[in-house]
């Protein structure tokens, strides 16, 4: 199916309804969604990933950052992939009411997407959905993801700038335990900085950043209290500063090659299901002799 050129034009013009419908097409892989993506003129707006463990206050931070970006009269798209986010359904009523004002603002587009369990698949979907948003006249795109295990690493592969949000409580050890954060953070935020030990925790993070040695960008560690709007202008400034660095041609090409690899892999693995593999293996094991390499052979060619 050829995509309607009217649809593409409307996305380029920023028509909210068309954007929403197109994201649903992409999210659900409805026939024609690939053709739609190929027909778009995808621009170069920064994609900012906001990630961290549950309870770090990511949604409040996104909320505050949004207000700050609107001060500059920017058009902002927000993609919320965090199932516990107030942008999503499992929300605290209080938070949702607070955010409701922005649903009315013509400069803002907020979209939540369902987390389907499979993280790999999810990060492919985020690539595709952010590209729909990048074809629309937004100035910046914020992607909020909950960091559990490997998922911080997933967002890092597709955002121009990755902000990792932590809280000072629960003990430094458990906080710093979170997988691979040092490697993916372009900006650290210690949120809920009005709590005990915030400065101490931030200082530990700074020591860790320094212990990694010289790089072209030294990951800043910022203190914020999002609910009181403290530290937000400084966060915006750091994000913009990092965006400028990330706009470099070589970094852009590298990021695109990572995205290309993931999308190709997704397509080449399409139609194969882990649960199906598991079921077949269980059945064959119950019959006796099992050779993994003989088993695998029949799945190598795509159906």
């Amino acid at each position: 199916m050829q995509p309607n050129s009217d649809t593409i034009n409307k996305i380029h013009q920023g028509d909210r309804k068309t954007i929403a419908r197109s994201i649903s097409l992409v999210e659900n892989e409805v026939d024609g969604y690939r053709e739609l993506l190929r027909g778009l003129t995808i621009k170069d707006q920064p994609v900012v990933g906001i990630t961290g463990p549950p309870g770090a206050g990511k949604s409040s931070l996104v909320n505050a950052l949004l207000a700050e970006l609107l001060e500059d009269d920017l058009n902002v798209a927000i993609l919320a992939v965090d199932p516990s986010s107030p942008f999503n359904f499992g929300a605290l009523l209080g938070d949702r009411i607070r955010l409701n004002q922005y649903y009315e603002d013509p400069r803002v587009y907020i979209r939540s997407i369902a987390t389907r369990g499979a993280l790999g698949g999810l990060s492919d979907k985020i690539i595709e959905i952010t590209d729909v948003l990048k074809a629309a006249p937004f100035d910046i795109i914020l992607v909020e993801t909950v960091g559990v295990g490997q998922s911080e690493v997933e967002i890092a592969g597709l955002a121009d700038t990755t902000v990792v949000v932590l809280v000072p409580e629960a003990g430094d050890e458990i906080q710093t335990m979170k997988a691979g954060l040092m490697e993916i953070a372009d900006v650290f935020v210690v949120n809920k900085a009005d709590r005990d030990k915030a400065e101490n925790f931030a200082q530990n993070l700074r020591l860790m950043v320094m212990s990694r040695g010289a790089k072209d960008w030294e990951t800043p560690v910022l203190l914020t209290t999002a609910t009181l709007f403290e530290g937000i202008p400084a966060l915006k400034a750091k994000i913009i500063e990092h965006n400028r660095l990330a706009a470099d041609g070589i970094r852009k090409a590298q990021l695109l090659s990572i995205k290309a690899w993931k999308l190709i892999r997704k397509e080449r693995m399409a139609g194969l299901d882990r649960q199906l593999l598991l079921n077949e293996i269980k059945m064959q094991l119950s019959k006796g002799a099992f050779n993994l390499h003989a088993f695998v052979q029949k799945f190598i060619d795509r159906k």
Copy 2:
């Protein structure tokens, strides 16, 4: 090419030269290596992954564990994937001399494999090579990998039991920072336990293990000083205890399905090169308009 049935028989019998040659075939993907793997009768021996950051003393620990397993007169295969391992070339002379005794022992087979940079590819190779070893009459297979960033996670997907080795020094914060260790460790070892703060660090790890709540296996935290052979019998006992749990049919099937998924993905991505993608993207970017999804399309079908 059909694999020589003589080759397969010799692997089954444990002929060292044939095993060595066959691993080289698999490592270098020489024609016929897939047929060889499919022809093997792969048994059920436990594969024990030993991983951790550089300098944690993994090789000394493997060395001590090997001696302990030989006390029980077991046949042991060791696969060293750590480039800094004394089993490998970039070795400290002293360590190599210490290990040399085992090269002569008919119950021991030691093999190092080159780390080619690409971690994903490496973990696929480890699956294939350990399957060659599992077709031979070894009682247990130890796989030593250096943990840097995501590579601990890689080993966890293919070992029946994963031992994570840490050292008490360098500050608890930096130690506990190492990516995703909590999720992958079946056994924690605090090695070099004769140093300061070892017991304290172990206690912190135990608290973290407990904070995860009830599971079918509570990850033990053991103290060892491998060079003095302290704590090694307890480590062996815990590995054997965990192996018994891991021999459960459901866990086995799950591990096999993960391996199957990786091997299928490897084959379906064969012939595609990230550097090639990057180069093509750079060229197209220099020409102007670039659409990732149009770019990706021509790589979706396998060549």
